[in-house]
């Protein structure tokens, strides 16, 4: 008998976060992530931990910033328009170097858009939606199990590098139920980690801030952030390549990648050799691995539920070595495996 439990993506990610030792959750309702906030509203207080339904996403992320500045393990979750509102504080957090986990269950945009699953926030997540020079670690899970595993680990990664970490899912991942194996429960992480604000008793006062006024100080700080991200790129970049022998390489992330996997199976039945290259960290993007994988293909197809955002990173990686084609499905909808299959057949001419 399997020890797996059947859970919706939103609830499974929330539970994984609690098991990672979460001390505080701050959020605001928005579809399609509502089960996340509801789950937290019950389970966090039941464990005597902090839960606040904030008055806005702006307030929620600033509560996260304040709580994260103490060194405690904290998070928020939202969906695209709400994440847009959070960008100011995320920029501050990156500048001030505080760890936190932020979950974006993406929906269709721009604007209010719709509530369907979308991948339209790729650029926002990987380029930094706030002001200034900064990058975050962005995981793009493809299944509920992977979302659970990546989120559980994301808190450690966030603490290790003192950086906000994004979990970029979409409405399909949040709403879908799959059987998952939940990780072991860790105790609540409430310490100051040696740098957090905990009261200046028997030590010098600590300041958590992004303001750097002295001449040359901000310049140096920005380059330090770049060096930190180089270390992150080296140690934390993750991807999946499904095969070693292929003519067509499909590059896709998250839900699109799942759909591509079904298409690849259909193509195999028809004698067409295709493989999937799936960035698991879309930031840092696995440029080198993709460049290597693309060399073995005759063509690369980028499939995304947007109008072509990761496409840019794929082109940068492939550097013109083979033709790169694109199929997109924006507007809160997903393409079918059959559509990908048809596109690849068309590419093969």
């Amino acid at each position: 008998m399997s020890k797996k439990v059947l859970m919706k993506g939103n609830e499974a990610i929330a539970e994984a976060s609690i098991r990672a030792g979460l001390a505080g959750y701050f959020g605001y309702p928005i579809t399609p992530q509502n089960e996340f906030t509801s789950y937290m509203s019950y389970h966090m207080p039941a464990k005597g931990r902090a839960f606040v339904q904030a008055e806005s996403e702006v307030a929620a992320i600033n509560m996260v910033y304040g709580a994260a500045a103490t060194g405690c393990r904290v998070m928020t979750s939202s969906s695209s328009p709400g994440i847009a509102l959070m960008q100011e504080a995320i920029s501050y957090m990156c500048g001030a170097e505080v760890p936190a986990v932020i979950v974006n269950i993406m929906r269709g945009g721009p604007g209010l858009g719709n509530i369907g699953p979308s991948q339209g926030d790729y650029n926002q997540a990987t380029r930094g939606g706030g002001n200034g020079d900064y990058k975050m670690i962005v995981y793009a899970p493809s299944t509920v199990q992977e979302a659970v595993d990546l989120t559980y680990n994301a808190f450690d990664v966030a603490d290790k590098y003192k950086i906000p970490v994004f979990i970029l899912g979409d409405g399909a991942l949040g709403q879908m139920a799959e059987p998952v194996l939940l990780p072991e429960e860790k105790p609540e992480m409430k310490g100051d980690q040696g740098w957090g604000l905990s009261g200046a008793k028997g030590r010098d006062p600590r300041a958590v801030m992004s303001l750097r006024l002295a001449e040359g100080e901000l310049r140096k700080h920005n380059w330090d952030l770049v060096s930190k991200f180089e270390k992150i790129t080296e140690a934390e970049t993750k991807y999946e390549l499904t095969d070693t022998d292929y003519d067509v390489l499909i590059a896709a992330f998250g839900t699109s990648a799942r759909v591509a996997k079904t298409a690849i199976r259909q193509l195999k039945e028809q004698g067409i050799k295709a493989a999937l290259f799936r960035p698991i960290t879309i930031c840092p993007f696995p440029y080198a691995a993709l460049a290597e994988a693309a060399k073995k293909a005759k063509k690369v197809l980028v499939a995304e539920m947007n109008t072509g955002q990761m496409l840019f990173d794929v082109k940068v990686a492939v550097e013109g070595a083979v033709p790169v084609e694109f199929m997109g499905c924006p507007g809160g909808e997903s393409f079918s495996p059959e559509e990908i299959t048809a596109k690849i057949k068309e590419m093969q001419g």
Binding site: V58, G66, A200
Partner: protein, 249 residues
């Protein structure tokens, strides 16, 4: 030899860079004295605003986090909720608290967050060069109200201490003035009370301090003090607007 006067332990040795005649230095000192006297320095975490008080971490010998503009009450909420053992205060100006941060202060107060809020009202945006603030007086000239604040066009000034006092969960809301030594002594008592409430786990406490801004008002420090006493105190009455302990009204 006995020491009769010294800097509070809660403040650093740094000399402030506030303009001559500005009340911020006095208010910093009052907060420092209150933390000292209540023995709260070692548990204190201050939340700095965006504005003239942004350098809070230079002047306070306590842990400090610097908030995005107006969001200090949200940060304070986050800190206090995960670490209820800490003494959490925000120190905010009028643009920060009553304009861009109006949402955050209203909701933090209305949740009854166990924090202390020090609100410095000098009736204009100081750091950006003297623009109209939500507390700029009717008719008052600023760089964005060159002919004086026209309430028909810009709305009326917010009386924050009264607004806070009207919220059910708030345990203490007072308005004090930093204009004269006697008033400064009163201000000290209000600030101390606001921290005492947090120490006693009573709830959300708010102190509005009417403050000078001679540079941007285009006044001498003495004229600025007179402006606070004659003009500001006329629009913004001093007093306690809420005291759950039933203290002096």
């Amino acid at each position: 030899m006995s020491i009769v006067f010294q800097k509070p332990e809660s403040l650093t040795e740094k000399t402030t860079i506030f303009c001559p005649g500005c009340s911020h230095g006095i208010i910093h000192r009052l907060v420092g004295e209150a933390l000292d006297e209540l023995e709260l320095r070692e548990t204190a975490v201050g939340v700095a605003p965006v504005g003239c008080a942004v350098l809070l971490y230079e002047y306070f010998r306590t842990d400090i986090v610097e908030a995005p503009h107006g969001r200090a009450p949200a940060l304070a909420t986050g800190i206090k909720r995960v670490r209820p053992d800490l003494t959490v205060f925000s120190y905010q100006g009028d643009g920060d608290l009553a304009s861009i941060g109006m949402g955050e202060i209203m909701h933090a107060a209305n949740r009854g967050e166990m924090i202390t809020v020090i609100f410095v009202n000098n009736a204009n945006y100081g750091m950006t060069g003297g623009q109209m603030a939500p507390t700029t007086l009717p008719g008052q000239r600023t760089t964005t109200t060159p002919t004086g604040r026209d309430c028909a066009a810009h709305g009326s000034p917010f009386r924050m201490a009264e607004i806070m006092g009207a919220l059910e969960p708030v345990v203490y809301s007072a308005r004090v003035s930093a204009a004269t030594p006697a008033k400064i002594m009163k201000a000290k008592r209000a600030i101390k009370k606001a921290f005492q409430n947090q120490k006693d786990k009573k709830g959300f406490s708010f102190v509005e301090v009417l403050s000078t801004c001679p540079t941007n008002w285009g006044m001498t420090p003495l004229d600025a003090v007179q402006f606070v006493e004659k003009d500001m105190e006329a629009y913004y009455p001093l007093g306690v607007f809420k005291d759950a302990d039933g203290g002096d009204k």
